[in-house]
């Protein structure tokens, strides 16, 4: 590593040259892309969905666990997940990277190459960004998507009587983080633990699932589970001024999580953050209709509760564990 060219060897302009070589731009809507003071985009007529999400070394990731391409993937995935929570189609992104001067150029190249790969996979194109020097590695991404629904999807409009649904399985990422913190090195051979670790390191944003949901039924409210259901369910309820009853025995848990957590799988599912699954509400008939026609077998949909009047608060039934809260980066350290 010591003879490898570093960011400080080629300087900011040299680095920008490399980044531009890797990126390039193509969409007709992009009038000016990478390499100018700002990007210029001719927007479509639909509403634009904008979100931003940052990851900081030592807080959200450790370099020893996370390759440059995994970091690019996860930082973008957490942003795409916010677009998915609005049933939006991904389009553009701006990438800010804070880098120590001693970062190898090859690391930066791997990072941007991974972003190029996400253009094919998720339809998200880098149109700009900033690279700055920083002792701590920081990635801050802003994404632009297009609303695909007839009206905006919000957290604020869940109604009593609605069913609460989630995509995929919950709690896997929390278990994966615990494995990493315990020193487990992900190995493909050990398929259960590898699965859990990669659910943490490389979560799949539920963009396709959001599109499929929106095509069948407009969610009354929706969010993504980034801080854990234990935080994101009350947050959605507060925004909508409603309460919720959760079915503690119906939280969707993967076989790998059940194996890992034994009897505590539901607690991981409730408390664990960073799964980036979608949590949304629908009236019962629309929920049934969506479930009956659902054809993405690798990502099941599960009803985990129902919306009730605000006065009833947020309660879990059929639950033998202690109600726990999700993760707060400012406090839980």
């Amino acid at each position: 590593m010591s003879n490898e060219p570093r960011v400080c060897d080629i300087g900011e302009f040299g680095l920008l040259g490399r980044i531009r070589e890797i990126l390039g731009y193509h969409s007709q809507e992009i009038l000016i892309g990478i390499g100018d003071d700002a990007a210029v985009i001719q927007p479509r007529t639909q509403p634009v969905v904008l979100s931003t999400d940052a990851m900081v070394e030592g807080i959200h990731f450790r370099k020893s666990w996370t390759s440059a391409s995994d970091l690019a993937y996860k930082a973008m995935a957490s942003n795409l997940s916010d677009l998915a929570a609005k049933c939006a189609e991904p389009a553009y992104s701006l990438i800010t990277l804070g880098l120590p001067g001693a970062t190898p150029i090859s690391w930066v190249e791997e990072f941007y190459n991974a972003l190029v790969g996400m253009k094919d996979e998720w339809g998200i194109e880098v149109v700009g960004g900033d690279t700055v020097r920083s002792e701590t590695l920081v990635v801050s991404i802003t994404v632009w998507g297009y609303q695909t629904t007839s009206s905006p999807v919000s957290q604020r409009t869940a109604r009593p009587g609605d069913r609460i649904l989630v995509t995929g399985t919950l709690g896997d990422a929390a278990a994966g983080l615990e494995l990493l913190e315990g020193g487990v090195v992900p190995a493909v051979q050990d398929s259960d633990r590898h699965f859990l670790i990669y659910r943490f390191l490389k979560p799949t944003p539920r963009v396709r699932e959001a599109m499929a949901i929106a095509r069948t039924a407009l969610p009354t409210a929706m969010t993504d589970i980034s801080d854990g259901a234990a935080r994101d369910v009350p947050k959605l309820c507060e925004a909508s001024r409603v309460g919720a009853v959760l079915y503690g025995d119906r939280f969707p848990c993967s076989a790998a999580l059940r194996e890992f957590a034994a009897g505590r799988a539901a607690a991981y599912a409730w408390k664990g953050g960073e799964d980036y699954e979608l949590l949304f509400t629908l009236p019962p008939d629309k929920a049934d209709f969506l479930l009956s026609g659902w054809n993405i077998p690798e990502c099941p949909l599960t009803v985990i509760g129902e919306i009730v009047e605000k006065s009833r608060g947020v309660k879990i039934e059929h639950w033998d564990g202690e109600p726990e809260t999700g993760f707060d980066h400012f406090r839980d350290h």
Copy 2:
């Protein structure tokens, strides 16, 4: 300070509540604003100009020099300057703040209150963002503006024969930084040094000037001077595949800079970064027309050179100093 409530005392959700109280949103184009997973905006029909710019503690600013409100102002100003370089009208912003847990809540409140103030001053409205924990204070801002010109303004289209113009005066911020690094405390009474220091701490983005320029003449190329003319002129020339002759005796320098730098004012003007003045090119007749009708006396326009064929490179005439380069955050530490 020690008894003051800190970010880690109220946690992420408590902090978000405070930020939402301060911000709020109003524009009719904003369908969903602060406090949801993403903002939803109904765009106008004009092209959208997007830019992002980050500032890192210890690299771009020091907390001992920079109040929360000055930091908010400067971080936003550097972004607004990128919009100005595209003759764009500011509209929306997303603010990512990386904060140590021990940051006083009052600091965060002052920061967001300053951003609210910039809505009235610059027409820029906060529609979203992210707050994350970080040992180092980091501000990353993304801005959205609307193109006001008939076609996009780029760095790439300067033509031989064009005049090179700049707004305002150059080199002040570099002198201000030198004063701060020398331990000078800004005092209003000492008007020259106060002026130079505040040109560094609180630069004025040339948004109004850009609008005034665009109303009279569409620049053939434009950029803002953030890294110093010595870097930004060659960058614009490279993007446009042209050369430039600069008139070293015509760099606009403030009286305060002349007093501070004595015979070296032109060197500060050429090398100094962070003035956030606009640098742009126009054919001679259009430059003359613009200059003759210019009515913003507090921000003069000056012709500092002309665009020539690429083969002639970038040269300074009437210059007795050593050609020097601008500042590179990755290398110059």
